[in-house]
C-alpha cells in the first residue's frame, strides 16, 4: 500500500471510529508524518458529524508541481547539454586537430546557440532550484512529492548513464590509441558536469527513504 493510501485509510477509520481531529493529527505527527500531509489527509474529509466520514473531491496529481519540476529539470537538462557543447567547442579551438574538417563558422554558430541557451536556462534552473530547496526546508513534506521524485530519479539515471558511457568511451579510446589531450579534456568536462548533477541529486533523492 502506498503511504498516501495508508494515511487516507487510517484517517478514514479513525474518523469513523469517532476520534477527534486533534487526536488524529497528534497520532500522525508522532508517527513522523509532515504537517502538510496530516492537514491534507484530514481535509480530504468534511468536518461534520455525519458518519461515515464524507470525502471531499480532490485533484489526483498536482498539475502545479508537474509544471514546476518539469520546468526545473528541463532547464537543468538544457544547461548541462549546452555547457558541455560550449566546452567541447572551446576545447576544439584550443587544442586543434588537423583531421578536424568542420568549418570554423559552424563552430562559431554552435557556440552562439550554446551561450544563448545558457543565458536563458542556467539562471532559470538556479532560481527554481533555490525555491525548491527553500520550500523543502520550510515544509519537509514537499520532498515526498511523487512528481519531484520521478524527475529526480530520471535525472540521476541520465547522469549515471553519461558517466558510465564516458568511462566506457575513454577505455575504448585508450585501446584504439585515440587518447589525445583533446579527448581527455572532453572526458573531464562530461565527468565534471554529470558528476555535479549525480552527487547533488543522489543526496536529494536519498534524503527521504520513506517516500513514494
Amino acid at each position: 500500500m502506498r503511504p498516501a493510501d495508508q494515511i487516507a485509510v487510517f484517517v478514514h477509520d479513525a474518523l469513523a471510529a469517532g476520534r477527534s481531529r486533534d487526536e488524529i493529527s497528534e497520532a500522525l505527527a508522532k508517527a513522523g508524518w509532515a504537517p502538510n500531509e496530516i492537514s491534507d489527509s484530514l481535509n480530504a474529509w468534511v468536518d461534520s458529524d455525519f458518519s461515515p466520514p464524507v470525502p471531499r473531491p480532490r485533484a489526483y496529481v498536482s498539475a502545479q508541481e508537474a509544471f514546476f519540476y518539469g520546468l526545473m529539470f528541463a532547464a537543468l537538462g538544457m544547461t548541462a547539454w549546452h555547457l558541455t557543447t560550449l566546452s567541447f567547442n572551446l576545447i576544439d579551438r584550443w587544442l586543434p586537430d588537423p583531421s578536424d574538417i568542420r568549418p570554423a563558422s559552424y563552430a562559431l554558430g554552435q557556440m552562439r546557440w550554446s551561450i544563448a541557451s545558457l543565458i536563458v536556462f542556467a539562471p532559470l534552473f538556479l532560481i527554481l532550484n533555490t525555491r525548491a530547496t527553500r520550500e523543502t526546508r520550510v515544509d519537509p513534506g514537499k520532498s515526498r512529492s511523487g512528481v519531484r521524485k520521478w524527475f529526480g530519479y530520471i535525472t540521476l539515471f541520465i547522469a549515471s548513464i553519461s558517466l558510465l558511457g564516458d568511462l566506457m568511451y575513454a577505455i575504448f579510446a585508450l585501446l584504439s590509441g585515440d587518447l589525445t589531450l583533446r579527448f581527455i579534456a572532453k572526458s573531464i568536462v562530461v565527468a565534471v558536469v554529470a558528476g555535479i548533477i549525480f552527487f547533488y541529486f543522489s543526496k536529494e533523492t536519498n534524503e527521504k527513504k520513506d517516500a513514494l
Binding site: 570554423a104 557556440m111 552562439r112 542556467a122 555535479i196
Partner: protein, 133 residues
C-alpha cells in the same frame, strides 16, 4: 553559507566562466555582423568566378584582362564590395588560372574551402580558380 547551496554555486560559477570565455572567443554582435558581411563577400566571389568563366567561354576560352559587365553574360553580379564599395580584385595568374579577392573583416571565422576547380583561402581573402577548357 549553507552546504546545500554548494552544488548550485558550483554550477553557477562554471556557467558564468563558460559563457564569458565563449563570448570572448566568438565576439559580440559586432563580430557576428562582420561574419555575415564576410559571408556575403565570399558568395560574391563565387558568383564572380563563375562570371569570369562565362566571359572567358564567350571569348574563345581566353580569360579577360579586367572585369566589366558584358552582354553575353548578363547575370546579376556585384563587381565591388556592397558594404565598402571597394571593387573586388581580379587577377589573371596564367592563361588557365585567375583569382578574385575581397577584403575580409574577420578572416579567422571564415573557412578554407574548395569546390571543384576553386579554392578559397580566408587569410588572403582570395578565391583561386583554374580555368581548363
Amino acid at each position: 553559507m549553507r552546504s546545500e547551496y554548494l552544488p548550485q554555486i558550483l554550477i553557477a560559477l562554471i556557467v558564468v566562466v563558460a559563457v564569458i570565455v565563449g563570448l570572448v572567443v566568438v565576439g559580440g554582435p559586432t563580430a557576428g555582423r562582420m561574419e555575415k558581411r564576410d559571408e556575403a563577400r565570399i558568395t560574391d566571389l563565387r558568383e564572380l568566378a563563375s562570371f569570369v568563366e562565362c566571359v572567358a567561354d564567350s571569348n574563345q576560352n581566353t580569360l579577360p584582362e579586367e572585369l566589366g559587365q558584358i552582354e553575353s553574360c548578363s547575370r546579376d553580379v556585384r563587381l565591388s564590395d556592397p558594404f565598402t564599395d571597394v571593387p573586388y580584385r581580379y587577377e589573371p595568374i596564367s592563361p588557365t588560372a585567375f583569382r578574385v579577392c575581397a577584403e575580409l573583416e574577420r578572416p579567422g571565422a571564415a573557412t578554407q574551402t574548395s569546390w571543384h576547380n576553386w579554392e578559397f583561402e580566408p587569410s588572403t581573402g582570395c578565391l583561386t580558380a583554374s580555368y581548363l577548357r
